[in-house]
């Protein structure tokens, strides 16, 4: 029998807490201070972030080999239940804080140039600070409730940043969409919290995990045995709630990490400034979902994991398709992000815990890099704008041949693309290979229909290569299409390479996408990452647990190893080749691309409109809810409230009441009393005909009636 209070009792002082508070405090400081110091906000907050990054990296290195630290305390008490908070620093957390801080810092730097001309700079940097703060919160806290809180805060900051240019209607709408989609996910996650709390009456993850070990399935019920302050507790729920808990928590991830069916917000989120897209919608926030899944991984039972895997695969495939035909450079990257997140989620689903996280890290680098490069291009092209020259600088149809004018950007973009496509020698290859390996093994074990799942995964490998190189070819090779569109020759010469403040972050990220960083090795599991961050073991009761990961990693992987790698590489290369033949410099498509219309043909349309998911939601759900609201309002005003108007009318004419009464029966009681009071009033009055004899007669009759009543 395990004692709850031992698990959540406050730990005594640990110097680590100072580091943590510092880590959280600095971004918060940058948020608040930036609002007040108007002028130097950018440089000031960038500096703060630099400091924070320094601390983070220092911590990462100094505590890496130590064993994980956990610090607990009491937040508030609810009845006799203690709502504790707890920090937890393991390697994953260290890695994440370093990653978040680093990318956040780079984005800060990038933004200093990118947002130079915006008069709302302070607000922008304040938001960035707030975002970093809440993101670190998710990473550092090891308590589902507090994670949920920062989780929502992250969503809130992303709302603010997407809607940063709120004068643009599209921006504000996109912001709403993002927040509400996240809210839907969060509602699900909240349900998960309810279930776990009802069972374990604590949110502390360590405690929950410990208690989960001691919970078991007794004739279909999921029972948790433990003692609380000495007295024994036996919380019991229907067994299905166990799977429900896992799926509910996953809902949160679905919202944040833009998984099917809630992923629609991410492409719209590109309305925000490009650096924001790089930071939030590529590297960190959207990865939070995966991080959460990793944290609660051991609490998910077989069913939940299956759902996770399938959803991930579907997302990866759908988004990859969608990315094929977009014209907006950021949209392409957005869909690619969704697709890659799909990979990670699927990885968690198939039990490839460490592989998924590995991909999270690598992806953070190359995707952020891609976004920053895109940012540079957009920024530079924007400079061409003048009174007679107007064009959409995000539309790849106007680009082309930029490699000559901005070679550095091109190089970075290329490296990151290769990483994304998963070609050997680049980080993407390692992580993706690991995932595919595990996935295949998983399918091997489960067999049957599960091959479709990994089929989707493999399909999206090739698709990825196609769409990313389409981008590379169309943007950087051949001639500058804008010239021919506006027929202004020599416009090309006006295009300049971005300055260093823009380039340095991009370069750094590009460097981070080369596989050397993770160890000069073609085998994923030999990288330091996979060495250090290893798969945990399941804690859920046996009968609900998924197959153990040990045999997964050991037995099958060995056998599969060689050819999974070969297949994935060849698929990636194949994709490259295909897109080369489609968009290569001298291909027809590439030439006439400038006036390429929206794609026709079923597949094309599906791809371009992202499977018409948005349309569906717009038409079906949103409309439905709004109409329902209107209907209810009508009901409320007209019917439920009808009686009062009835009251008003009774003063005027009786007839009205009768009509009203017949018309609005639903409103029942009150209306009834009022109208009938009117009726009775009239009736009783009508005796007062004024003729005394009628008085006498009626009086007598009534008297006799009363008498009869008595007799009967």
């Amino acid at each position: 029998m395990i004692e709850l209070q031992d698990l959540i009792s406050p730990t005594d002082y640990d110097p680590m807490i100072n580091w943590i508070l510092l880590l959280l405090g600095i971004p918060l400081l940058s948020f608040i201070s930036s609002l007040f110091i108007k002028k130097n906000a950018p440089i000031w907050s960038t500096f703060l972030l630099l400091v924070n990054t320094g601390i983070a990296i220092f911590m990462a290195f100094s505590f890496w080999y130590g064993d994980s630290v956990s610090i607990k305390g009491v937040w508030f008490t609810l009845g006799d239940t203690v709502m504790s908070y707890s920090f937890y620093l393991d390697r994953l957390a260290l890695l994440m804080i370093a990653l978040v801080n680093l990318i956040s810092f780079l984005v800060h730097v990038f933004s200093m140039e990118y947002m130079k001309s915006d008069r709302n700079k302070p607000r922008y940097f304040a938001y960035l600070g707030l975002f970093t703060f809440s993101m670190l919160g998710i990473v550092l806290f090891h308590n589902l409730l507090l994670m949920f809180i920062f989780w929502e805060l992250v969503g809130f900051t992303s709302y603010l940043l997407i809607g940063f240019w709120f004068e643009k209607k599209t921006a504000s709408l996109a912001a709403n969409k993002a927040f509400i989609m996240n809210r839907i996910g969060d509602a699900g996650m909240l349900t998960g919290l309810m279930i776990l709390f009802a069972q374990f009456s604590t949110f502390d993850l360590e405690a929950v995990k410990a208690l989960m070990i001691f919970s078991e399935i007794e004739d279909g019920n999921w029972v948790a045995h433990f003692t609380n302050n000495g007295q024994e507790v036996m919380n019991s729920l229907d067994g299905r709630w166990l799977s429900a808990a896992g799926i509910a928590l996953f809902c949160g991830a679905v919202g944040k990490s833009a998984q099917f069916p809630l992923q629609v917000w991410l492409p719209d989120a590109m309305e925000g400034p490009t650096p924001v897209s790089a930071l939030i919608h590529a590297a960190t926030m959207v990865a939070a979902g995966v991080f959460l899944l990793a944290r609660v991984f051991v609490l998910l039972d077989a069913q939940a994991l299956e759902v996770v895997a399938i959803v991930g695969a579907i997302t990866a495939f759908m988004a990859a398709i969608a990315a094929l035909s977009q014209f907006d450079i950021k949209k392409v990257l957005a869909y690619s992000t969704i697709s890659q997140l799909g990979y990670m989620v699927m990885a968690i689903g198939v039990g490839a815990y460490s592989a998924g996280l590995f991909h999270l890290v690598t992806h953070a680098f190359f995707k952020a890099g891609l976004f920053l490069c895109a940012g540079i291009i957009i920024h530079q092209l924007h400079k061409l704008h003048s009174d007679e020259i107007k064009f959409n600088e995000q539309d790849i149809r106007v680009m082309g041949g930029l490699r000559l004018k901005m070679p550095v950007t091109f190089l970075c973009f290329l490296i990151c693309s290769l990483a994304l496509a998963g070609l050997p020698g680049f980080s993407g290859f390692l992580s993706k290979d690991a995932i595919l390996l595990n996935a295949t093994a998983w399918a091997e074990i489960k067999g049957g229909g599960y091959y479709i799942v990994i089929g989707l995964a493999y399909a999206s490998v090739i698709l990825t290569a196609i769409y990313i190189f389409r981008l590379v070819f169309l943007v950087f090779t051949r001639g500058f299409r804008l010239e021919s569109i506006l027929n202004k020759p020599g416009l090309m010469d006006k295009v300049k390479e971005g300055n260093l403040i823009l380039l340095i972050p991009a370069i750094l990220l590009a460097v981070g996408s080369i596989s050397i960083v993770f160890g000069a090795n073609v085998k994923a599991e030999n990288t330091w990452f996979m060495q250090f961050i290893t798969n945990p073991i399941y804690l859920v009761p046996e009968s609900y647990a998924a197959f153990s990961l040990v045999d997964l990693s050991e037995a099958t992987i060995k056998s599969l190893h060689g050819w999974v790698a070969i297949v994935s590489i060849s698929l990636a290369v194949g994709g490259l080749v295909i897109s080369y033949f489609l968009y290569r410099p001298i291909s027809k498509k590439a030439l006439i691309f400038q006036d390429a219309p929206e794609p026709r043909g079923a597949l094309g349309r599906i791809s371009f409109n992202h499977w018409y998911q948005d349309v569906l939601y717009e038409k079906a759900i949103v409309k439905f809810i709004v109409i329902k609201g209107k209907a209810l309002a009508w009901f409320d005003e007209k019917i439920l409230d009808g009686f009062v108007n009835g009251l008003a009318k009774t003063q005027v004419v009786l007839a009205h009441i009768v009509r009203w009464f017949d018309k609005y029966i639903i409103d029942g009681f009150v209306h009834l009393t009022v109208s009938t009071s009117g009726r009775i009033g009239q009736a009783t009055r009508s005796i007062q005909s004024g003729n005394v004899q009628t008085y006498i007669l009626s009086a007598m009759i009534l008297l006799i009636l009363l008498l009869l009543w008595l007799m009967i």
Binding site: W75, L145, N176, T191, K630, A648
Partner: protein
């Protein structure tokens, strides 16, 4: 000083009202000062009271040892000859359930007084009535004698009626009458139960004195075994006694043992339902809510602030204090229904809010939705649920006051409340927009604001309920989460339509009238915002007060159910 502080809290506004009435007309400008000072002092006293309050002691809710700042003196006692007699006490005290409400009330009243600053017409009447209202509202939360409680409860109606009816908007008369009639129906139901109750409950202490027995337990056993003569039994309006089933006269209709019946149904069930409806009208819960939108839309800003900020809470407080305490068994019997109405109100209110054009109506319906959480929490009958209900009342009081003040700010400038008549206000009123943002996000339950904590507790409690005492099924809280999504929906939509996008207003002349917040408005809004933050981040400041009482309360419920 501490002793009798509650009396000061109640009577200060009343005295101030008298002062206002006495001041000559040429000192008109001083009325508002008097009002603000009086309410300010009340707030000060309340804070002192809260400081002196010790959250630690309250094992079982139904004995007077757990009350603090207790003031009890016989008010009057009527001797009904051989049928015994009944006594009405002037009985004020606070426990963990009433202290947050008291605090909330005096905060909101103070804010309301400030926002009454620019009342133009018939100042004397207005401020006098406002102070009367304040007195009775505060009294409602500290009175523990049913008679006294009912006095305050009823007495609130009149000032409210005139405040809405004279200083209100275009359809004020209609709204005022509607408000009055609706609430009166409720309070008649309460009165019926009250008569039934005091005829079934006796005062063990006085009865003991009558028959010369000191220990309460002994008196109770003697009465239950019928050793005490009818004329020695002293009936009582004391709510604390009413909450102890041993204080019910054997054979009396509402006594649990005798199980009296009215037309075939258990009398206790019927009494409970009567109380439930009576307070559900005040709360208001579907389908008794239709007075609320009109009352809010027509009432002047300060009055809607008080109405939404405090008066609604009396509904919830009354349910806890009376219905649930006196008839726990019936409460359990009807918990499913209560929970259902809670969930229904949550969704119903939210969907209605989604369709409103008038921002005040929108806020009103959001109140309906939020009060649904109170019902849900109460129905759960778990510690988390009930704490959540109380917390929700408290935080909603602060947040909704903020929202109505915001609506007032806009209305003061343009005399127009229609959402569609504004656009992109953020460009012109950045600071106002920030405040609005805070209020809206607080209201839609963003973590870091008090609303989130409250709703979280309710959810946890409601989900646990079925496992712990089997009150309401798990699907209720799960369905209720949809309310969160809808909440986000209508608030963000409003925000987007009114504040985002290009600046645009219906009438050109509004533009120069649309100035950003002035210092007085800051004075009202900033403290509220700060409080909302504070209670979102440090729940313990409130929980430490209410915890033990709530535990006592739930113990009471559980004993009754077993």
């Amino acid at each position: 000083m501490i002793q009798g502080i509650l009396s000061y809290i109640i009577f200060l506004p009343l005295i101030a009202a008298a002062v206002v009435l006495c001041l000559p007309k040429r000192l008109e400008s001083s009325y508002r000062i008097v009002t603000v000072v009086a309410t300010g002092l009340t707030l000060l006293l309340t804070i002192i009271a809260v400081y002196s309050f010790d959250g630690g002691i309250a094992e079982n809710i139904n004995s007077e040892e757990n009350l603090q700042l207790l003031e009890k003196s016989e008010w009057f006692s009527l001797d009904l000859g051989s049928l015994g007699s009944f006594s009405v006490d002037y009985f004020l005290a606070v426990d963990g359930i009433s202290i947050p409400m008291l605090l909330l009330a005096s905060i909101v009243l103070f804010i309301g007084a400030i926002s009454s600053w620019n009342i133009r017409q018939k100042k004397k009447g207005y401020f006098a009535l406002y102070l009367l209202l304040s007195g009775s509202v505060l009294g409602c939360f500290v009175a523990l004698d049913f008679f006294l409680f009912y006095l305050f409860f009823e007495f609130m109606l009149l000032p409210m009626y005139f405040l809405i009816g004279i200083w209100g908007g275009p359809r004020k008369e209609y709204a005022a009458i509607k408000f009055f009639i609706y609430t009166l129906i409720g309070s008649i139901l309460i009165l019926i139960v009250m008569i039934g109750l005091y005829n079934s409950v006796y005062d063990p202490v006085r009865t003991g004195a009558e028959i010369g027995v000191t220990s309460i337990e002994q008196v109770q056993t003697m009465v239950q075994s019928g050793e005490v003569a009818r004329e020695d039994i002293i009936k009582s309006f004391n709510m604390i006694y009413m909450a102890d089933q041993a204080n019910y006269i054997p054979g009396s209709l509402l006594s649990q043992m005798s199980g009296g019946e009215i037309i075939g149904k258990s009398a206790r069930w019927i009494a409970f339902l009567a109380l439930l409806i009576g307070f559900a009208i005040k709360l208001p819960s579907f389908p008794f809510h239709t007075w609320l939108p009109d009352a809010h839309v027509e009432a002047p800003t300060p009055i809607s602030v008080v109405l939404a900020g405090i008066l609604l809470k009396i509904g919830g407080y009354g349910l806890i204090r009376t219905a649930f305490s006196f008839f726990p068994d019936s409460a359990f019997h009807y918990s499913w229904m209560i929970g259902f109405f809670g969930v229904f109100s949550i969704l119903y209110g939210a969907l209605n809010a989604l369709a409103q054009k008038d921002i005040k109506k929108l806020i009103a319906y959001s109140s309906v939705s939020h009060m649904g959480f109170v019902l849900l929490g109460l129905a759960a009958m778990t510690v988390e649920g009930i704490s959540g209900a109380i917390y929700q009342m408290f935080s909603h009081g602060l947040i909704t006051s903020m929202l109505f003040l915001i609506a007032g700010v806009l209305y003061d400038r343009t005399q127009d409340r229609l959402i569609e008549n504004y656009g992109g206000l953020a460009n012109r009123l950045p600071r106002f927009t920030i405040v609005v943002g805070i209020a809206f996000f607080a209201s839609l339950g963003l973590p870091g604001f008090s609303g989130f904590i409250a709703e979280l507790m309710v959810f946890l409690g409601a989900f646990k309920s079925s496992a712990v005492i089997g009150a309401i099924p798990q699907w209720m809280p799960v369905v209720a989460t949809i309310g969160l999504i809808l909440g986000a929906g209508y608030y963000l939509w409003t925000l987007q339509r009114m504040f985002m996008g290009k600046y645009w207003v219906k009438k050109a002349e509004w533009t120069e009238r649309l100035k950003d917040l002035n210092s007085r408005e800051y004075l009202m809004l900033v403290p509220l915002a700060v409080l909302v933050f504070w209670f979102g981040i440090f729940p313990d400041t409130l929980m430490s007060l209410i915890n033990s009482s709530v535990e006592g309360f739930t113990d009471l419920l559980n004993q009754a159910i077993r």
